[in-house]
Symmetry: C2
Subunit: 340 residues, 2 copies
């Protein structure tokens, strides 16, 4: 007898698929007695938690979805181009969905995609995505997901990221080597995995150099430009301002440039700046902006290649795999001790 | 008896829909005898060329498609955000398709959208789109199109553009007022309606000022960064170089900055620059970049509002309407005679 799938198991138990799925994941939303009943029946019927491992998809839509927070963002725009370069070769259409950092919208989009209108989904979650049930549900429907950059660790699949922790350390070391003694970190969203890693690298490097950071040197920014402008201005307007800024994302660095213009703070003499960025005009800024640049196009391309490796074989189950690409440190004028 | 629609007419004539549609439009692809036969039958059966004018759509997908050349482009990224702001209110999903300036890909995307997977399409065509049959076909299937920025004049629908001709004149006048006597125009694609208008405004203003342009002052660029870099370098490297550049799109201005860096040409002392641009960091460049800035977000928003005005009433026929929004001239350092 073939092993049952989730849908069959739910039917036999007379429970919803979602309840069974949650019970199998030991969710707090499901009572203990239901969990026991589900687990016993799953064992009895030899239920495999990965029913799609050997499952063949029949109806192909020849379409993949890309779900990202934003396109007015150099990183995501380049990653999308990388994805498209592979899809084009495979004669696939690419649909792009934007979440605009809205977790509820991300959930609605996933719901919308449930009906197999696409063969696979490549995604980067919002800054507010703090649980991944909606992604798990999509996988259970037999639609594979590949995650890139902003990932959910809990989801079993291929995840493409960059060496954010090491890059965070290297950028911090570079600032210290150029004389920075009091560095502020501009953070973005507590839930964003990559920002956490960048911050950990930053803090680790400070510790290695016996530099103690005041709590107000970690500035938690968000997706409002005006609010970020104020926060950065508050940080820089007093006499106790830091001598360097490490911005976790590009937008916060360009906002810092604008604040410095208003406050007449000279970069890099009065304030050194470095940031994660894919800004094409970084070298044309005044002064030129030092960046840690992610291989955004390559990340998108790799994510798509992994997706098609499975789609080509009609497989909808993608096993866990962490693919880490390397970022490059571009040292320009904004972060250097020019008087050295 | 109700009037027949295109599909019924084609069936009665035992011809394909596309043949009938082309015959009705007097296409050169269709022979004279077929055209006569089609026109006679159309008259006999009271065929209406706009069968969707009064037609009500039943199955709504609650989804609109946005078809644009590129997202690694500040203008389109902002326009998409404008569209999304309206769609969000209407509880609609937005699918984004990228043509990457590939006319064949644009046609494939239109074919893909024919099966009513979306309720409407908002689009800006590729730089190589030189005929609009694929758009006409989509309209005939009862899927409304609203065009913005790069439009097809032949298609009957709402078209949202900016005052490109006047802006082209104003930017040119500004350069002349600041002492420019030999201005080069960096063009992009012969088919792009808006670039043609910008160039016409440029030439008109030169004529008004009795300035004669050499043919080599109109540089036809394309979508290859490397090729554009070489073309601009060739323009600027000799002694006979122009004293100002008017770039029809942002990318060509930032490439000019890079060429000037390599050739050690000082902006604006040796060369003045102005361009159409939505670059968020224009004021942070060295020197700050003068721009004609289109209200990209507003354009997207307006296009979506027009679309929903008809979708809300279940109408799929959108009559011709030209909506023109105004661009703003931002004079910064790159175009000014600073010694004045």
């Amino acid at each position: 007898m073939a092993a049952v799938n989730l849908k069959e198991l739910a039917k036999i138990l007379n429970l919803s698929i979602s309840t069974v799925s949650k019970a199998l994941r030991d969710s707090h939303e499901i009572g203990a007695s239901t969990k026991e009943r589900v687990l016993a029946k799953a064992k009895e019927l030899d239920y495999s938690p990965n029913p799609f491992a050997s499952g063949l998809r029949r109806n192909k839509s020849k379409t993949v979805a890309v779900v990202v927070p934003e396109v007015a963002n150099n990183y995501f725009a380049l990653a999308i181009n990388g994805i498209e370069s592979v899809a084009q070769e495979k004669d696939y259409h690419v649909l792009i969905y934007l979440t605009h950092e809205d977790f509820e919208k991300e959930k609605r989009i996933m719901k919308h995609l449930e009906n197999k209108r696409v063969d696979g989904i490549l995604m980067s979650v919002t800054m507010h995505t703090n649980q991944c049930d909606h992604l798990f549900d999509i996988q259970q429907k037999g639609i594979p997901i590949v995650m890139f950059d902003r990932i959910c660790h809990e989801i079993e699949t291929a995840k493409i990221t960059t060496d954010d922790y090491i890059s965070g350390m290297n950028a911090t070391k570079h600032l210290i080597d150029n004389g920075a003694k009091d560095i502020a970190f501009l953070s973005l969203g507590d839930e964003v995995s990559i920002v956490q890693k960048r911050k950990s690298g930053f803090l680790e490097e400070l510790e290695k150099n016996n530099i103690v950071t005041a709590p107000n040197r970690i500035v938690n920014c968000n997706d409002s430009d005006e609010s970020n402008y104020q926060k950065i201005k508050n940080l820089l307007k007093g006499k106790q301002r830091p001598d360097a800024i490490f911005a976790s994302v590009e937008k916060l660095a360009t906002t810092t440039y604008e604040v410095c213009k208003e406050l007449k703070i000279n970069i890099p003499q009065d304030l050194k700046i470095i940031c994660f960025s894919n800004l094409a005009t970084a070298s044309l800024l005044s002064p030129s902006l030092s960046t840690i640049t992610q291989p955004a196009y390559e990340i998108g391309k790799t994510a798509a290649e992994v997706m098609f490796k499975y789609l080509d074989k009609n497989k909808t189950y993608i096993p866990n795999e962490n693919i880490v690409l390397h970022s490059t440190l571009f040292i320009r004028d904004s972060s250097q001790n020019l008087s050295k």
